[in-house]
Amino acid sequence: MNDTSEFVNPLRDPQDRRLPRIAGPCALVLFGVTGDLARKKLMPAIYDLANRGLLPPGFGLIGFARRDWADQDFAKIVHDAVKERARTPFREEVWQQLLEGIRFVPGTFDDDASFETLKQTLHDLDEAQGTGGNHAFYLSIPPKAFDQVISMLKKHGLAQRDQENAWSRVVIEKPFGHDLASAQELERRVSSVFHSQSVFRIDHYLGKETVQNLLALRFANELFEPIWNRNYVDHVQITMAEDIGIGGRAGYYDGVGAARDVIQNHLLQLLALTAMEEPTSFEADQLRAEKKKVLAAANPPRDIAAHTARGQYLGGWAGGKQVPGYLEEEGINPKSQTETYAAIRVDIDNRRWAGVPFYLRSAKQMPRRVTEIALNLRRAPHLPFSLTDTEALGSNALVLRIQPDEGITLRFGAKVPATLMEIRDVTMDFAYGTSFAESSPEAYERLILDVLLGDPPLFPQHEEVELSWRILDPILNFWAEQDTQPEGYPAGSWGPAGGNAMLARDGFVWRRP
């Protein structure tokens, strides 16, 4: 249809910032529609996009699962999920628009006949809805099924690397392998079917909005860059704490653990965004180039035993509720050595960061759900006060809160009024939610829209994934060789003693987020 590739749409103008980009006609195939994620996040996100007017008039949504459903049964599932979870108000006419393009294909991942049906369904949808052969495949399925689905898509000609006038794209979710070797193997298989720019890896903890907020803070201001280095920063703490256990995800979580589940993708991405140099532009490949550079300069600690810690939550009372320990959770091997708390030190060997340790920790059953990056600054080189004046003074800190309540906190010392001279820490807080009118779209909304628009994702491509594994592999191997039980910590606490000891060795303490 694009017979005039140099055609410039006269209705568009770079100055016209009001006009959103609406995805072209296309269909989205959802694998794993019966999962929690699909119901709680994906379906509502699709509706929210439609409600914001960002989906094209011709849009198809196809569910694929091992259920004996007809189209309307699936539509009912989507309808209920949307009504319950969507961010924006439910509107009948938006629903009607979506409903026209909803289809369901029953089948299993190994059944040729079901994939033939899927192919036919997509073809019919292209005719009826004008989706024009543009298809995105969202694999919301366990990693072990990736291979099967991808090879079936290839076998039945549902996805091809090179097609004219149409595209096929794929979305995969973490974990991207379980170590370097498996990540490389996964990449080999995926790239045999899809071009690397057609593969969208989502880190659903890290929305594009968050990444852009971080970039804006660092590179749109003169205030922060001068202190953003080893001359002023003492150490950096990156925390992702969850206030829940593994819930019903035993099958997924056991054997994976906190380091693979969160540190490999999420925390190392946050580290890269915090520590990287300024990209020449915010084009996706320029940004990736800087992230790759800093990840390549990052190393695991030399003494892994001293500078990492792992733990496993024990039963107890967390936030006023009695919860079982990890080993008592349903479906968990009672001898499991999987860690639910992982803390590691990462050293970045470059001019900007030499000697500034980055501490990464991720854990379940913590007192509070929080993700934050804390840059702790050095203490003033000289304090012209008496020691008692500054007893309550800590060091200055700049904290970037990722979630919940995204924002920035700055901690500094101030004189307590009406005292002779007493200095104490105070905080200054900025929250996106209270300073801006609009709530940020969900990470999934942005991701799905990027996929449909074909916007190069800010999310990691395989090189970054592999660099992350290179940092984590030695630590995971060391832990595996120990062959011991991770240190227990009571559910609802800030982690095991080992985690605190690990920082104490370097003369620091974890901040309480």
């Binding site: 749409n9 006269p10 209705l11 009001r18 011709g58 006419e93 938006v94 628009q97 809805q129």
Partner: protein, 309 residues
């Protein structure tokens, strides 16, 4: 809390604000000041709109109305923490003071942050030269809020100054987005455009002006639409018609050459959603400026044609 202060001044209001914030214990992260100018008849409605806007936009909202007393007198009412993240300050001016409202508003603007002025109903002829309008970098009017929308939008277009915007334009965004996306998907030379809307719909006039400005082709506008607002836009191309029509103000039908007709939700938005869009960017909207000057040209041509008859 609601604090009522009778017979006061700018500094009296300021002192009350500081005191109130202390007792609630909130830090202020308000990012702009919005001046809302209404008349006494529309006061209740304007206050409700302010509170709605305040819920979504943490800001200092100053609602300005004129009272009917002859004595020079300023009464104020402060709403703080009433399920509203920002502050709503109502100022009622009486007597000669009503001629000098800017003298009270100026000291109450938040330091070093943008100021937006909004006339929910009637607006001055030249918002950019209005004493309160001059304080703002962004002046929001609403031609559809006036009794003669077509005349109002023409008037705005003739008196346009940078920083002006009209909600009529904001209402058009979903239409414009859909049209632009249609041309993205079906690139073809457009030879002629038809815009159809209900009678007295300023939006269809402005949309026609924008299309003419962008496409530089004849745009035929008709007011015979039987539905609500804009009812149909047809882009005539060499390959056939691309058309979007909407009768009920909610659901539109999209047709393009060689394609099945499809439905797309295209709902009219409430004022709050419009204000949200307006506040997203506070710089000059060049595309709007250009569309407004195209609108003036259209009006000139119409007048010339009438005069010729």
């Amino acid at each position: 809390m609601i604090i009522t202060i009778a017979n006061t001044s700018a500094s009296g209001i300021h002192a009350a604000l500081v005191k109130a914030r202390h007792s609630i214990g909130v830090a202020s992260s308000m990012v702009f000041t919005m001046i809302v100018i209404a008349d006494l008849r529309h006061y209740e409605k304007a206050l409700a709109a302010c509170q709605d806007a305040g819920r979504e936009h943490p800001s200092r909202i100053i609602l300005v109305v004129n009272g009917q007393e002859t004595e020079d007198r300023l009464d104020a009412e402060i709403r703080l923490g009433e399920e509203v993240p920002g502050e709503v300050i109502t100022l009622k001016f009486n007597g000669e003071l009503a001629e000098h409202r800017d003298s009270v508003v100026l000291p109450l603007l938040l330091p070093d942050s943008p100021v937006v002025a909004w006339w929910p109903a009637g607006a001055p002829d030249k918002p950019g030269e209005d004493p309160l309008g001059k304080l703002a970098i962004r002046r929001i009017t609403d031609a559809m809020g006036s009794s003669r929308p077509m005349a109002a939008i023409e008037h705005r277009a003739r008196n346009y100054s940078p920083g002006d915007t009209d909600l009529t334009w904001t209402r058009l965004t979903p239409w414009r987005a859909l049209l632009a996306a249609a041309v993205d998907s079906y690139p073809a030379r457009i030879d002629e455009v038809r815009v159809e809307g209900a009678a007295n719909n300023a939006g269809s006039m402005l949309l026609a002006a924008w299309l003419e400005d962008r496409l530089q082709v004849p745009v035929v506008r008709s007011e015979k639409g039987t539905g609500i607002g804009i009812t149909n836009v047809t882009l005539k191309t060499t390959k056939g018609d691309i058309s979007i029509s909407r009768e009920d103000g909610k659901m539109a039908t999209f047709t393009a050459p060689g394609l099945p007709r499809r439905q797309v939700a295209l709902r009219r938005r409430d004022v709050n959603a419009l204000i949200t869009e307006e506040l997203r960017r506070l710089d000059v909207d060049d595309i709007f400026a250009s569309a407004m000057s195209a609108l003036v040209h259209q009006c000139e041509r119409r007048n010339a044609a009438r005069a010729a008859k």
